[in-house]
Symmetry: C2
Subunit: 651 residues, 2 copies
């Protein structure tokens, strides 16, 4: 019978997240993440009842050690166990002290699959975890099912006393060095940029090898490889990736924007691995804020729920929750919002049912961080991040409260999804909204201020962007924010692509697609013009040459393949193609196309297993969806969309 490896629900994701977060290397050092790691349950009991259609037998395979009970009788693994026709209570016990406990039944009359369950401490049944990719007894759930593709250098150059290999674009993969002598002591210098690879004093990732005639080096990010110590090497790489075909696309009359979209898509693809890494060179970790941004991009590219779900589980970990996600207060709150984002995009209530208790304990932890006004504040080693910006973080920080409101509202909605009582979250969101307006709204500035504690009345974009994005500002406040903050040149500009994502989202929400168009055709185009094949972590048009690659005081610390820079995928799909869900899982959705300054836009956005195609030129609008549930909204009119029926409007 068709069988799958099963494990304790969520532990597969935590197992692989731990690997992701402990793989970073730089300057010859291992550099694991600094936050708390959670782990798998070491001792797991899987239960089910099976109905054997006839007499038969089974063999239990384990990742770990343990046994099977059939109607209370114990059997070892890897042994033929007779099963008589009829109903049987099966129970698998498996312990794995250093890996992921998992089980697989090979049989003609029984199987391990999603009908199995574990029991919580209160004896509730919790469906096991499983994945269709692990369906053979020889499969190993500890090995993530990556795909590999051979890539060869597009050009080779003798320089600086060695050979520089250019793979043409950034890749993440295993480097194979063949055709060398065992006597040669070879130095391998990796570079996201040509300069980095050649700068063997400062390149972040380097390795010395010797003693073999061929090498396969561990998966790393690079475009350039600089070898010294050998002249005969033949290089190729195996690109390591998860095959997630793009279901969305975007093209327009501007070739640079088309290239930007491709660059963003490729950047996101490289980072959609076991979980969403924030970058492939540095840090290669699962960061909550970066992932939350990507959660918004993914539905407009491949709409893969798996990568989002795995990241959410990996970020949250397990109990006890005694440290903010990545130690950052905002990231805990964004995680809760991310769970709702996931539900709204994919409509997966089972996942909400599974994760909800962990969201509740996270919010209880946050509640333990409130000051006398009920505002969330820093305690102990908490990191109030929000953004790298000159923000007044004295006492309760306004932007943090905006997220706290949004997280409480998200909790109320999630509670509703699974029929839990979310009234306390609704009330908390209301009282917080009221207090935020009382304490942080500054009539004099016509904006929310960072801190009321310091008395400095400092205004930054951040809290005000959140106020717009999360509908905390009312109509009047919104107008005031646009005038006094967003369009006010005197207020410091956003300096990170991370927060630029929020700002552009707010601009889109406010209907200002020209602002987005402008940023695409200047800021993103700037990187493109500098030869970027993936989007950078940060980009300052004022800098030049090798300056672009520096960060944190180090010459090449900047990541040149950073997921958070991929927001154009979202912005173009959401605000130009204009597709957005209006009921969870795209059960219903609206299409509100806007051409802005483009001559035409043409693209597709994944919806509910299908896609919606939108083509808008100066003369014609054409919309068609492969699924039901859509409504085209065009110039005030609403056009219900039928599956596969094209709507064509000409002007």
């Amino acid at each position: 019978m068709k069988s799958y490896w099963i494990w304790n629900c969520g532990d597969y994701e935590i197992f692989h997240t731990n690997r992701v977060n402990s793989r970073r290397q730089q300057y010859g050092m291992d550099y694991p993440a600094f936050w708390r790691f959670y782990d798998v349950d070491r001792n797991v009991i899987f239960l089910t009842k099976v109905q054997a259609p006839r007499d038969g037998q089974l063999i239990l395979h384990l990742n770990g050690t343990g046994y099977l009970k059939v109607d209370g009788v114990m059997y070892g693994d890897e042994k033929q166990v007779p099963i008589r026709r009829g109903e049987h209570a099966l129970e698998i016990h498996v312990v794995h002290l250093s890996g992921l406990p998992a089980a697989y039944i090979e049989s003609d009359v029984a199987a391990t699959d999603g009908t199995w369950y574990t029991r919580s401490a209160t004896l509730e049944k919790i469906p096991v975890g499983w994945d269709e990719k692990y369906d053979k007894p020889t499969d190993d759930p500890e090995t993530f099912p990556f795909s590999y593709e051979t890539v060869v250098p597009v050009c080779t150059e003798h320089t600086d006393g060695g050979i520089l290999y250019d793979f043409g674009k950034e890749i993440f993969g295993l480097l194979h060095i063949n055709g060398v002598c065992a006597q040669e002591r070879i130095h391998v210098s990796y570079g996201e940029s040509r300069q980095e690879a050649l700068d063997t004093a400062f390149a972040v990732v380097q390795e010395d090898v010797a003693g073999q005639s061929a090498y396969c080096l561990r998966p790393r990010a690079f475009r350039y490889i600089f070898l010294t110590g050998t002249a005969s090497a033949q290089l190729h790489a195996q690109l390591e990736y998860v095959p997630l075909p793009n279901k969305g696309f975007f093209r327009c009359d501007r070739e640079d924007v088309n290239q930007i979209w491709q660059m963003c898509a490729y950047t996101l693809q490289l980072n959609m691995r076991e979980v969403l890494t924030e970058a492939v060179k540095r840090d290669r970790w699962l960061w909550g804020g970066d992932a939350y941004q990507a959660f918004k991009f993914v539905p407009y590219l491949c709409s893969d729920s798996g990568i989002v779900r795995r990241s959410l589980i990996g970020l949250r970990g397990k109990e006890p929750f005694c440290e903010h996600i990545n130690t950052i207060t905002d990231y805990s709150l964004l995680w809760v919002m991310g769970v709702l984002e996931y539900y709204e995009n994919y409509g997966d209530a089972d996942f909400v049912r599974f994760i909800y208790p962990r969201a509740v304990s996270l919010m209880a932890f946050c509640a333990g961080r409130e000051d006398e006004n009920g505002f969330i504040v820093k305690k102990h080693a908490d990191w109030i991040f929000i953004d790298w910006a000159d923000m007044d973080k004295t006492g309760a920080v306004c932007a943090e409260q905006m997220l706290y409101i949004a997280a409480n509202r998200a909790m109320a909605k999630l509670a509703q999804v699974i029929g839990a009582d979310g009234e306390s979250f609704t009330q908390k969101a209301k009282s917080l909204t009221d207090k935020v307006n009382r304490f942080f709204w500054c009539a004099e500035k016509g904006a929310f201020i960072d801190s009321f504690t310091s008395g400095r009345k400092n205004v930054t974009r951040h809290a005000n962007i959140f106020a717009v994005l999360y509908d905390i500002a009312d109509e009047a406040q919104r107008e005031s924010i646009v005038r006094n903050v967003l369009k006010n040149e005197d207020v410091d500009k956003i300096t990170t692509p991370y927060f630029e994502g929020y700002e552009l989202d707010a601009m889109g929400k406010l209907g200002d697609v020209d602002y987005i168009y402008h940023m695409l055709t200047t800021y993103w185009k700037g990187m493109l013009d500098l030869g970027a094949t993936t989007v950078w972590e940060a980009y300052d048009p004022q800098q030049s040459g090798v300056e672009h690659y520096a960060m944190y005081g180090d010459r090449y610390q900047k990541s040149l393949c950073h997921a958070w820079g991929a927001s154009p995928i979202y912005l173009l799909g959401r605000y130009f193609l204009g597709v957005a869900q209006t009921a969870s899982g795209y059960e219903t959705f609206e299409v509100r196309p806007q051409r802005g300054q483009f001559g035409f836009v043409d693209g597709a956005v994944p919806v509910k297993g299908g896609y919606v195609r939108v083509t808008l030129s100066q003369k014609e609008l054409c919309v068609v969806s492969t699924v039901d549930g859509g409504t085209l909204v065009w110039q005030g009119a609403r056009y219900p969309m039928e599956k596969d029926k094209e709507i064509r409007l000409t002007f």
Copy 2:
């Protein structure tokens, strides 16, 4: 400088406990324990400040991957790091996803030792764990430092188509088979008894080997080995043990009792491993009730605090505490009492400081298991064990409340040790005592009844023994209990050595040493007469032959080397030699010798790093202690004891 491997405090113990609890095998199956496993923290940060006496350097060794920070600057492991004279802030980051994260600094100017600390979620400093046995960079904290001793069979017998090897007494160790041919398919059958080894259909532990000319089989318990399939084998074993020299001893005029003491001591020695196993053949697990019994024996034998401390940490695990220890309600409560027992015996307030928060959360978990009267009851998968006995377990069970009172009292005392507020525990103990008397004391029976819910008024010894042992019964109740329960032949006898330990302790406390003498010279002597070399899990004098080895419906499931049978060590030291601490860590202690029916008793009990020697014959009492703090109490008079000054009384 003298350096030690350091780890997250408590994780070494949890790491090794998990190994202990997952090593059991029977009938060719792996049989890990069925309860919740906790695990080490995967990501650990060690901190300290060092004062380098001069310029020097260090090398960091890690069990895991990570790095060192010296005054904020990162260095990799296994590299020479320069350290300038003066003060430095050191920080070690280490991740180990499959083992025990640990670190060791090799240096002439700095060291890893007990002055390092980790930080709790609330930034408290928690001293690291370390052990003097791991003081070299090549030491591996994942390898428990057992000692080994070669043991050879004392006799060999050709029988049943094979060869039976008798090692003379029960051992636990690795079996070496030498001098065989690779072609031979050898069957190895282990036996704690001769019959078990020969019964290849039913022996619990068996293994087939082939393909080599020599084998070393994993550590197991056995006295007999039966080999078939080879005639040329040379066997020897390596006894695996922790060298803990006996500091206590006992001898008297009855050679059988002397042998019983030796047998008990050896039984306990075999079970004092990484943690206290309850037995060496089956289950080889860390059981809370069994360990609690042994906690009382150890101070009268070797007085090793390490074995008790490791067991306490291993039993309790970490957070969240969401399942009773071994799933058994009583074992959770006994654990709390065990912590106090540990403190009273060894005076180690640092450990209490470390473990107290885990005791608090355990008690909070128990509080969540209370009924409307405040009695602790079964919830979900809880196991109300107390003993294998015909007990009325309807509703709240009396014996369980007795332990709940004792555990609350223990918490109050532990709170006092570390200056925490234990008032709630004091109050809870008081109100419980009051309610237990109101609900469970039956004037008609003159005893505590098992259950007031059922209306059956069933009386067993268990609750009444606890009432005496833990001073819950007042003087009048105590007399009534002795008359109506303990000395009442109509009340079912205790059937397990486990609970017999409590009963004899109560008898000793009541001054009835003749009862203990009687049990030693009949019950324990019965096993001795049947050839026991270690104490059995259970013994029924009515049985005969191979019947003795059966348990749980299986022919040889009974353990013939069971720690809980070693109570004579405690009983003889505590009630005949009469030594007992009166202030924690034997700061003060009393000696109240009783000869009972012995012609003479002579022995030593470890006290505070030294020992007290007691010799009592019909004509003379001689007491001497190698440490201060003792008081001899003899026939109503108190004699203060001076270090090394013998007190000799003749009559």
